[in-house]
């Protein structure tokens, strides 16, 4: 089950790491497609921890999918019934799921949390650049001065929509350009052609629209790619995400060398009517997940049909998950961590991390505590997909970066045969439940040990250890005096391995 991640006696994660792929393909033509789920996706309704079902039923009965309807992935984990397309990716070893991704000091403001996720900043700092913008800028410091040019004739990134993605914001300019329709470079906010009045104002406006569209520096390369490219499958109708991904596939197929595409789907802010009353299988969230799953499935099929899929990975993110308890409006409120999906044949297929633990008594406002830091996901993708050195990832994201095996050299193994990358961490808290003192006992192999306590809102409230410990068994005491009774979680990080477990204070 567990793979010894050892090489000549060194743990891989302790070494400066080069890309897993660099020997396979020196001419990096890889594409990253980011799918932003705007509003805060209810991870617990998308990916249901079957081993927690009874406690989920206690906390969110009015929205919970009936157990028999859940699409089983593993014995303990299943998808929402509308996500058969994504389940197929899993069964074909093209899906990596990372459980409980978030950040310490969860902020439940949409804006603030989106800023954190797009900039890659710590929760207590505001950064003006995006995580991908910084990556691009590390290679193209002068941008946009002198771009496009002969060596880089194509846009570095494209945001499908009307406004450039903050993920691609550099210090001087945004590295992404917006695109609604690859055949007409007029941004949506400029209005549909022909809707100008027949007045001098209208005539001048028309002139400006046309000239702006024509003078886009990348107009020629994009139009050429759109005209050369093709789509080989049918995409779901009336699915805006599908339309965006269809255009992404078209442009990749047409030879556009753009490295990052950002697409988005809104509506995940399901405070109310997440499901219809008494019909947990239908409702807004169900429709969203259906759109998401069908769009991804069609996109992947299109890439596969054109033999392009080994060049492309996709990754979802959302500003936060939602609370464990549902509300009386058949919805859920802003929460904390949630699962993140990475797809494509080059992912490390399977599930990273443990199922979230649902307490039998869920306090109001409780969210899912983080197991993985989103910046570690980003950094690992940068390393393995874009061949960024680990030291640089630390500079671009955070100094405590821990590599995660999200990707692997492209292969076609099935999920059952997939390499298991994670060595099980042995750790427990006792007594559990506890009154004032709890002890966390764990075994380590000499790694850097970060042990911290999270409250039910998903905020890291205590750091018990943050240093290298010798190999062996350890016991660390946690003083819970003065803390309100309720659920807490310890999160143990041993270099790149993480475990989050619940403990109950009486």
């Amino acid at each position: 089950m567990s793979l010894p991640i050892l090489l000549n006696g060194f743990r891989l994660s302790a070494m400066p790491r080069r890309s897993l792929f660099s020997t396979l393909n020196t001419d990096n033509d890889r594409v990253l497609v980011i799918i932003q789920l705007n509003g805060g996706n209810d991870g617990l309704n998308m990916l249901i921890p079957l081993d927690q079902y009874d406690n989920l039923a206690n906390a969110r009965l009015n929205i919970l999918i009936p157990e028999v309807e859940i699409l089983n992935m593993t014995d303990t984990l299943g998808f929402h019934p509308q996500m058969s397309g994504v389940l197929d990716l899993y069964n074909n070893a093209k899906l990596n799921i990372i459980q409980s991704v978030g950040y310490p000091e969860q902020n439940r403001s949409h804006f603030r949390s989106t800023d954190i996720w797009t900039s890659g900043s710590p929760a207590d700092e505001s950064w003006t650049t995006g995580w991908l913008g910084r990556y691009f800028e590390s290679n193209h410091a002068e941008f946009p001065e002198g771009y496009p040019n002969e060596e880089f004739p194509h846009p570095f990134a494209i945001t499908m929509g009307s406004i450039v993605s903050e993920t691609c914001q550099g210090s001087a300019a945004n590295f992404s350009m917006t695109l609604n329709d690859p055949f007409s470079l007029t941004p949506l906010t400029q209005g549909a052609p022909g809707d100008v009045p027949e007045t001098p104002y209208g005539e001048e406006l028309e002139f400006l629209r046309t000239t702006i569209a024509q003078s886009n520096a990348y107009a020629e390369t994009i139009t050429e790619a759109a005209e050369t490219g093709a789509n080989r499958v049918d995409y779901p109708e009336g699915n805006r995400l599908g339309e965006q991904l269809k255009n992404v596939a078209l442009l990749i197929s047409g030879g556009l060398q753009t490295k990052v595409y950002v697409v988005s789907i809104g509506g995940f802010d399901t405070h109310a009517n997440q499901v219809e009353a008494g019909k947990p299988l239908v409702g807004e969230h169900s429709t969203l997940l259906q759109n998401l799953s069908e769009a991804i499935a069609a996109f992947q099929a299109d890439l596969q049909a054109q033999s392009l899929e080994q060049r492309v990975i996709g990754m979802t993110f959302s500003e936060f998950g939602r609370q464990i308890r549902s509300n009386d409006s058949f919805g859920t409120d802003h929460g904390s961590a949630a699962p993140l999906m990475v797809f494509g044949p080059c992912v490390n297929p399977g599930v990273l991390g443990d199922n979230p633990e649902i307490p039998d008594q869920v306090e109001p406002q409780s969210g899912i505590p983080m197991q993985f830091d989103f910046r570690d996901v980003y950094g690992s993708v940068l390393m393995d997909w874009f061949e960024v050195a680990e030291e640089e990832v630390r500079t671009l994201l955070h100094n405590d970066f821990q590599y995660m095996p999200v990707l692997q050299p492209c292969s076609t193994v099935s999920a059952q045969e997939a390499i298991r990358f994670e060595q099980e961490i042995e750790a427990e808290a006792f007594p559990n439940p506890f009154r004032n003192w709890a002890t966390i006992r764990f075994r380590s192999e000499g790694e850097w040990v970060r042990l911290s306590i999270f409250n039910a809102l998903g905020n890291e409230i205590r750091v018990l250890s943050n240093r290298r410990l010798p190999a062996g068994q350890h016991e660390v005491k946690f003083d819970g005096h003065g803390l309100p009774a309720g659920n807490y979680y310890f999160r143990l990080q041993l270099d790149g391995r993480q475990k989050t477990k619940r403990m109950l204070k009486l």
Binding site: G39, H110, F111, D115, T128, A173, T189, G191, Y201, G266
Partner: protein, 552 residues
């Protein structure tokens, strides 16, 4: 030709054919505007009379009404304090923080550069702080009109622009007189080389063709209806004898100015053509040039000529039959009746039914200075406190205007910037593949990261501004108000929906209310404030990149 047909022609369409013969789009004339007065009218008046009014200025104008606003626009404003040495340590005569406008040069030529930079920064600052006054817009109008360029001595330029500013809405004839012997103009059009023995016609030609009466149709060989080639020759003789003094002078006793040198002056009689009623101009020494200007201004065509230019500066570039008959003609008559005082005629234009005609609202493509200033002034942008950093920030804006093909103190032609004379493109010459990315860049920069000026970043600070609008916590009201602030005409519901998607992507409306109120309730939470500010900046970035914002 009526306006619609004219526009169709400009667009390369064939007039007539399938289209019914349309009545002129605009029938209104110079008669006083008597329609409703509201935010839209106040905004239109101020946008055209200033380099971008602030929201507050528009609201005030809305409250005080049209007449008071016009009065305020034309109210006397004291001359601005002169430009300062903002950083240059090596000028022995001008310490940093002092003005150089009366200081001589010295042997080190480097002082020339900092003074020019200082003049540019100072000019941008003047535009930024113009207040509710039409003076700066008129100063640039005259600069476009006389188009002095290729003069490198900042002291000359300062004196020249101060002259134009002094006359902003003053007497056109007296302004032409002063400009004729202005040292920068003497340098620019070679008046300083014009002597009895070596007459130089350069200035005389432009005086007629571009500055006063304009060139009419060719009536006969050498006869341009309003004047003849012979008139140019004769008038050049009238203007002989003038020299500028003080160019880059290091002599502390020499002030920048002009002198009349009788020995260089042609004292003979000058016989004008029948176009000037065969007038003979006899020797009047250093007053002869002024007499010549009086003679030219006897012709009412001068009034029509300048009124057309004012029309293209303040209203639109197409002057159709209606505009010629019902606006230009009566306005020119008013100018003549008022002895060429600009103010009454221009006030009449800016308070006319024609000016406020809905069809005249919005079709003007902003020139680069208008564009830059409207992108920063509307929302309040702070500049760094120190003189050097502040001037440098203004120089950044100045450079952007240069890249957008409008450089203050350097009109590209004697005729000025093409946008105001070049058929058929006119305003559209501002927009091309070179200038568009520069326009996009400046609005992107100013709305997102800002540009550095010392330790300071000059960028839009939207939070304080947003509090001044009604119901800022309602995303629909917010967008509606932003549209009114930024765009000359309404936009479609689809566009508003797209903008809301920028402000609150994929979120229901109430989340904006929740987040905005959360920020209000936690004024000390910097991250929260920054998060709300970021959303507003994204909205502004999107709106400022829309072509609607390019129009006034």
């Amino acid at each position: 030709m009526d306006r619609r047909a004219t526009i169709a022609t400009l667009l390369g369409r064939k007039p007539g054919a399938a289209q019914p013969v349309a009545a002129p789009l605009v029938n209104s004339g110079l008669e006083p505007y008597s329609g409703p007065w509201g935010y839209e009218q106040a905004a239109h008046l101020l946008r055209r009379s200033m380099f971008a009014p602030t929201y507050e200025q528009i609201k005030t104008a809305e409250g005080q009404g049209m007449n008071s606003t016009i009065e305020q626009l034309f109210a006397p404003v004291p001359a601005p304090a002169p430009p300062l040495n903002h950083f240059y340590q090596d000028d022995p005569l001008v310490p940093v923080g002092q003005t150089w406008v009366d200081a001589p040069y010295y042997d080190d030529v480097n002082a020339r550069g900092y003074r020019r930079q200082s003049l540019r920064a100072w000019t941008m600052e003047l535009l930024f702080n113009e207040g509710v006054s039409i003076r700066e817009k008129l100063t640039l109008f005259w600069h476009n009109h006389f188009a002095v360029s290729n003069v490198n001595d900042a002291k000359y330029l300062y004196k020249h622009i101060s002259l134009l500013r002094k006359y902003a809405w003053g007497n056109f004839r007296e302004l032409v007189k002063e400009v004729t012997i202005d040292p920068a103009m003497l340098q620019f059009l070679n008046g300083n080389q014009n002597s009895q023995n070596a007459p130089n016609e350069n200035f005389a030609r432009e005086l007629l063709e571009l500055f006063t009466i304009g060139k009419g149709p060719l009536a006969d060989s050498g006869d341009y209806t309003h004047y003849t080639e012979e008139d140019i020759r004769q008038m050049a003789r009238v203007l002989t004898g003038w020299r500028d003094v003080g160019l880059f002078s290091t002599n502390p006793d020499v002030e920048v100015g002009s002198v009349f040198l009788p020995f260089r002056h042609d004292t003979g009689a000058k016989q004008l053509s029948h176009r000037f009623d065969n007038t003979v101009i006899n020797d009047l020494g250093d007053q002869e040039y002024a007499h010549l200007i009086d003679v030219i201004f006897q012709k009412d065509e001068v009034a029509r000529f300048i009124c057309r230019k004012l029309y293209r500066w303040f209203i639109y570039y197409v002057i159709d039959e209606n505009a010629e008959q019902n606006v230009i003609q009566p306005m020119a008559q008013m100018l003549v009746d008022n002895d060429y005082e600009i103010r009454p005629a221009l006030e009449a234009l800016l308070s006319s039914a024609h000016f406020f005609d809905m069809l005249n609202v919005g079709p003007m493509i902003k020139n680069p200075l208008d564009f830059i200033l409207s992108s920063i002034k509307t929302f309040g942008v702070e500049f760094p406190p120190g003189l050097g950093a502040r001037y440098n920030a203004y120089l950044r804006l100045f450079s952007s205007s240069v890249l957008q093909q409008m450089e203050y103190y350097a009109p590209p032609q004697v005729a000025g910037w093409k946008a105001y004379y070049q058929e058929p493109q006119y305003y559209r010459t501002w927009i091309n593949a070179t200038t568009l990315p520069v326009r996009m860049l400046i609005t992107d920069t100013i709305t997102t990261s800002g540009f550095p000026a010392g330790d300071f970043r000059v960028r839009i600070a939207p939070l304080a501004f947003v509090e001044t609008i009604e119901n800022p916590n309602d995303p629909n009201a917010l967008i509606e108000e932003f549209v009114r602030i930024l765009f000359p005409q309404p936009i479609t519901d689809d566009q508003k929906a797209a903008l809301k998607e920028v402000l609150i992507p994929g979120l229901p409306d109430f989340e904006w209310t929740v987040e905005y109120n959360l920020y209000l309730a936690n004024p000390d939470d910097e991250e929260l404030a920054e998060a709300v500010a970021t959303k507003l900046r994204q909205l502004l970035q999107a709106m400022l990149s829309m072509p609607e914002f390019y129009l006034s």
